[in-house]
Subunit: 334 residues, 2 copies
């Protein structure tokens, strides 16, 4: 019998096809292997092919926009939003619009063209996380901006056009509806229970263990109960913080270890799949919240979203999260 | 300057990239050309390869599950939900689940293997619409079912595995969250204005004409103001009805003509793209609503949904709906 499961935060239902659980080998998928060969604007030596850098880490010093960096943040050459200008909200009959004011940046995570996130060292991943934090803390000063999404599209089928290892940051003038839904859902639970729902989830997942991939003193990696996608994986900090940028150095260090381990498990079990990774964090202009808890969501690209999902927002997941977690858990530390 | 536009019904914002509007030739896409050749369970003569039919139209009579049909409805051989059993809602710690009770049917729209929706005759399309209505009216009697989605995945990249022209119907025990959001958004507008927002949209789109593709006495086809996807197209009946199954014969006849014309325009301008088509209609167990208005949404599959969309529910649309509408309008009646 298939199961309907409800996401406890957003209230979204998911169909889990328990009868004919799809295992890793059942998915037709892209194996992402960066090959290089073409001139890459993100490679050292090509700094002039990108807009001037916003931030770079140069452990041994050196000039701006020159080689010698271990990580580099640049404005997106084809931004979906622009930093300059006023919002000028206005109507068009019954419709509403405003100017596309915001920021769109690229974090080049390593100078090495063919490395992927799972292949970076713990130190390199830690550096990427610090860059995310540095950029959020800087952009937060611009009060026109209300929400920042940091995300990674890895592989063509996950929407990436450039193979050199990078993430993106988009800062928006409005808090997106899906984020507001997550915040509101968490708030409703808090009003009822006086506890953070994410803290409760961490507790229950640790106790049952059935969907757990990996646990440390600081973090828990698990397959969420109402996973929308096969092998969907969340990383949840144990310590409650609504904002990613408030994570402290020991937590960031540990997160680098956990993220690396999770990506290596995913790469092993699913043979280097394309994936999307997103940091869910509270709106940057709002204060600390007892009811919301930042976390990372990783979605390997194994299935296609089709008419049913577009029409209902209901998802059909052919792999129960318990099965996915077992595969990833059994992969060990690779 | 890119524009942010708000969907007036759901409140979802969309980024419309007005600077570098992508035109039809700019998209890398699948051209869907059914080829045949393999044994198809939906072709006449192979009726035994599918579960027994639920409904079939046989203009010249004939036996059940035998050739001679012009349209055939069957249960999905691999259903995501099952008709038998109780819902038995229960908890699992803080989580909620129920059994996957529902229906999953396939409408085989023509006996001809290689025909696509745009290539069917008006009469054949009308027959498909009648089949949708007949199935909804029948399933409505089962009070465990609360919502029915009728949808079509056309082409592999839109999630279709079988090339023979077909639609699907999924009946759910709960009203999906996205549908509830659309209903609630429309209700808020109605409470404020005492008018249906869809009726107002039809009025404004007819007046401005900038996003209009096609108009008849009964229907309006247009590119919605806050289109999430390039060349997204809606068909809206002029006469207010919350439920698709309440449309009357003249409206259904006209809809067949409009749907055919729209699909032919899309096939011409975008070179037979893969697409998803969904009928948005009110929950089957709820009475007529003054605030909700059924309609059809068509999404050609031209772009990939990536980390930003998954993380925020915000969409980036590289083709302004005014540009899309102009291309489709200019294609004439093909």
């Amino acid at each position: 019998m298939p199961e309907l499961r409800k996401d406890p935060i957003t209230g979204r239902w998911v169909i889990i096809a328990t009868d004919r659980a799809m295992r890793p080998a059942d998915f037709i998928r892209e194996s992402v292997e960066p090959k290089g060969g073409r001139i890459c604007p993100f490679c050292p030596g090509n700094e002039q092919k990108t807009p001037p850098e916003i931030l770079a880490y140069r452990p041994e010093g050196g000039a701006r926009n020159q080689p010698g960096w271990s990580l580099r943040v640049i404005p997106n050459k084809f931004p979906v939003l622009r930093v300059e200008g006023e919002l000028s909200r206005h109507g068009e009959g019954l419709y509403d619009r405003m100017n596309g004011v915001g920021a769109h940046e690229v974090v080049i995570e390593t100078p090495e063209h063919t490395a992927t996130l799972g292949q970076l060292s713990e130190k390199q991943i830690e550096q990427v996380l610090w860059a995310f934090r540095d950029r959020i803390l800087d952009l937060k000063k611009d009060i026109r901006l209300n929400y920042i999404l940091i995300f990674k599209n890895h592989g063509e089928s996950a929407g990436s056009n450039l193979e050199h290892c990078h993430s993106q940051l988009i800062a928006l003038p409005v808090v997106p509806k899906r984020v507001r839904e997550e915040l509101d859902g968490a708030k409703r639970y808090f009003d009822f229970k006086e506890r953070c729902i994410f803290c409760d989830i961490a507790r229950q997942e640790t106790e049952t263990g059935a969907r757990s991939l990996l646990e440390t003193d600081h973090h828990l990696a698990f397959a969420p109960y109402a996973s929308r996608f096969p092998f969907e994986t969340w990383i949840l900090p144990r310590r409650h913080h609504s904002h990613f940028e408030l994570a402290d150095p020991p937590a960031i260090q540990n997160l680098a270890w956990v993220l690396r381990a999770v990506m290596r498990k995913i790469d092993k079990v699913l043979e280097k799949p394309a994936y999307n990774l997103m940091i869910h964090s509270a709106p940057i202009q709002e204060g600390s919240m007892a009811h919301y808890h930042w976390h990372i969501e990783i979605i390997p690209k194994l299935t296609r979203v089709a008419g049913f999902e577009w029409g209902t927002g209901f998802y059909i997941n052919p792999t129960p999260p318990e099965t996915a977690a077992q595969f990833l858990r059994d992969a060990g530390l690779v």
